[in-house]
């Protein structure tokens, strides 16, 4: 490995500001190399070629610096911080209290309900569009313990990167009508920037958690339209399903659970950018259909497959790369297929065990137990009911979502010096190039 890489990884782990210092200085900083703000000068987007309208305003600024993309190392550090491997989760749920809900013991830098990995990270930069999917293998409880382990960050990045396209996303601020990416995102997807796009599959967690809410929490899922059980009538009895919860309520709960993961990923990424001295702004409230690929020909976006049912787009995934757990889908021919796949995935828990030898055999016995026969039938029954009645699963929300993003760039300090009160930039911002780039070829 390049000496510069080793030196900088060491710097990242040992010399960047403490968490509390980062929390003190962290800000959105939106103006990067090659960007502009209300300059009033005609401008064409460097990627899409669309004309950007600009009116002169009090913060008018045109960066004189050429776009400078993030390096591989900077990108690898950001991706790892966002959702990279960090070891083996503790698994300290009682073996008798639904430990089996966990889908894997492979830990990431973000927590997840049942550790279900329902969030993936995509990014787009000058080299194209990529999915960051590092290995699920873990070699030890804490993967990065000392200097010898630092290089894993780049190895996981290089080995786990899947190129989705040779091009950047074809999206910019100038898309009309309605500024679907938000009026504030003028410098979105500019050359040199890296746009991070977490993708959430809400259906995966919903199926996994059905097992828990039936077997351990006694939820009786009811149909919002009829108020009646969703194919679960035979199990509405004491000790089985006693508490009526509508399917929409359940979906809302699970959508939130997935979005929390999504939000924590973005926060990690933002903190990492601050530590490295990069500019970062996070944004939501845009039209996710545009990003996922549901508004062609305005943009191709990420080219997710989708099916329109009752006027709603259900994004089902990308074949062979991000195959979602919703229905209908080309990759699951039936409810049985879908449930079997989730149960198959859960066997990953057996590959990494966090427990000491003295309890391992008993825990393994717990983990190898399949859901009870009635519970398995109930999960298949609720899914069959919903799919037959509504023609889709999830019923109320798309399988995939992506509604909180971050763009990271090299900061143009000239803007901050020209218009902002002092102290908006730390020494880590001002010395970024000296620390992270000097000596690069």
């Amino acid at each position: 490995m390049d000496n510069n890489y080793i030196h900088r990884l060491k710097f990242a782990f040992e010399k960047t500001p403490t968490l509390f210092r980062l929390l003190s200085t962290i800000r959105s900083r939106r103006v990067g190399f090659g960007y502009s703000i209300e300059s009033g000068e005609p401008e064409f987007h460097g990627i899409t070629g669309r004309k950007l309208e600009s009116h002169v305003g009090p913060l008018n600024f045109v960066s004189k610096k050429k776009p400078e993309p993030l390096t591989e190392l900077e990108t690898a550090l950001l991706c790892w911080s966002a959702c990279g491997p960090n070891g083996i989760v503790a698994g300290d749920i009682a073996g008798t209290q639904n430990l089996g809900t966990l889908m894997t013991f492979a830990g990431r830098t973000i927590p997840a309900a049942a550790n279900d990995y329902c969030v993936d990270l995509i990014f787009t930069n000058d080299n194209g569009t990529f999915l960051y999917r590092p290995t699920h293998y873990r070699s030890k409880v804490v993967e990065i313990e000392s200097e010898q382990d630092y290089s894993k960050i780049t190895r996981w990045f290089q080995e786990g990167l899947i190129q989705l396209s040779k091009n950047r996303l074809d999206i910019d601020w100038a898309i009309v009508p309605g500024r679907p990416m938000g009026i504030w995102q003028y410098n979105l997807n500019k050359p040199g920037s890296t746009w991070f796009i977490p993708i959430v599959d809400v259906a995966k967690g919903m199926i996994n958690l059905y097992f828990s809410i039936f077997e351990h929490m006694q939820w009786l899922i009811t149909d919002d339209e009829t108020g009646q059980p969703c194919g679960l009538e035979e199990w509405a009895k004491p000790e089985k399903l006693e508490l009526p919860i509508t399917q929409r309520t359940y979906e809302e709960v699970m959508l939130h659970m997935a979005d929390y993961q999504h939000g924590m990923l973005i926060q990690n990424l933002r903190l990492a950018a601050e530590a490295i001295g990069l500019g970062c702004w996070i944004f939501g409230g845009f039209c996710e259909d545009l990003v996922l690929g549901g508004f062609r020909p305005l943009s191709n976006g990420l080219r997710f497959r989708y099916k329109v049912i009752d006027g709603k787009r259900n994004y089902i995934g990308i074949p062979k790369i991000l195959e979602g757990f919703g229905l209908p889908s080309p990759w699951y021919k039936s409810v049985d297929d879908l449930v079997d796949r989730v149960l198959e995935l859960k066997k990953e828990t057996l590959a990494l065990i966090p427990y000491q030898d003295k309890v391992e055999p008993e825990i393994l016995k717990t983990l190898t137990q399949t859901p009870s026969e009635w519970c398995l039938k109930a999960v298949k029954s609720v899914l069959s009911y919903l799919y037959e009645r509504y023609g889709r699963f999830p019923v109320y929300y798309s399988t995939f979502h992506s509604n909180l993003h971050a763009q990271v760039h090299h900061l143009d300090t000239d803007f901050y010096d020209k218009y902002l009160k002092k102290d908006y930039l730390t020494t880590h911002h001002r010395e970024h190039f000296k620390i992270w780039h000097k000596g690069n070829d």
């Binding site: 009538e233 009895k237 009526p244 509508t246």
Partner: protein
């Protein structure tokens, strides 16, 4: 109410009639709307279905032909104890006790919103039941 010993399904059916059609039972359930359907089990066997009408309850044998609003599971002498209460206060207290030891289990078969529309909120409030 006179106590009865349950020896057969028909004994239980008579006891259920006594509970629900008695003045106390009618007073207790006066807030439930017409059309509310209770499916009544004893030791996990379908015994009777009680349909709320404008004047009271209409009991029929066996399982409900359609999905009920509420299932009630009785066990361990719960019916007898409920039938022996003498006023609404006693009825409510006994019901709470029986729910507490799970000798009576109510399983709602509709969403909370539908149950509230059917008057179960007022029913629970009148009897001081949890979840009112």
């Amino acid at each position: 109410m006179n106590a009865l010993t349950i020896k057969s399904n028909s004994d239980l059916r008579r006891l259920l009639e006594q509970i629900w059609m008695s003045p106390i039972g009618l007073e207790a359930t006066q807030d439930l709307h017409g059309g509310v359907l209770l499916e009544q089990y004893y030791n996990n066997t379908y015994i009777a279905t009680a349909l709320k009408t404008s004047t009271g309850w209409e009991l029929t044998d066996g399982k409900s032909p359609k999905i009920p609003t509420m299932r009630i599971f009785y066990s361990c002498g719960a019916c007898e104890q409920l039938a022996q209460t003498e006023d609404l206060n006693g009825f409510a207290n006994k019901l709470l006790d029986l729910i507490g030891v799970r000798s009576i289990v109510f399983i709602p078969m509709r969403s909370t919103e539908m149950l509230l529309k059917a008057g179960f909120g007022e029913f629970a409030e009148r009897l001081g039941l949890p979840g009112k």
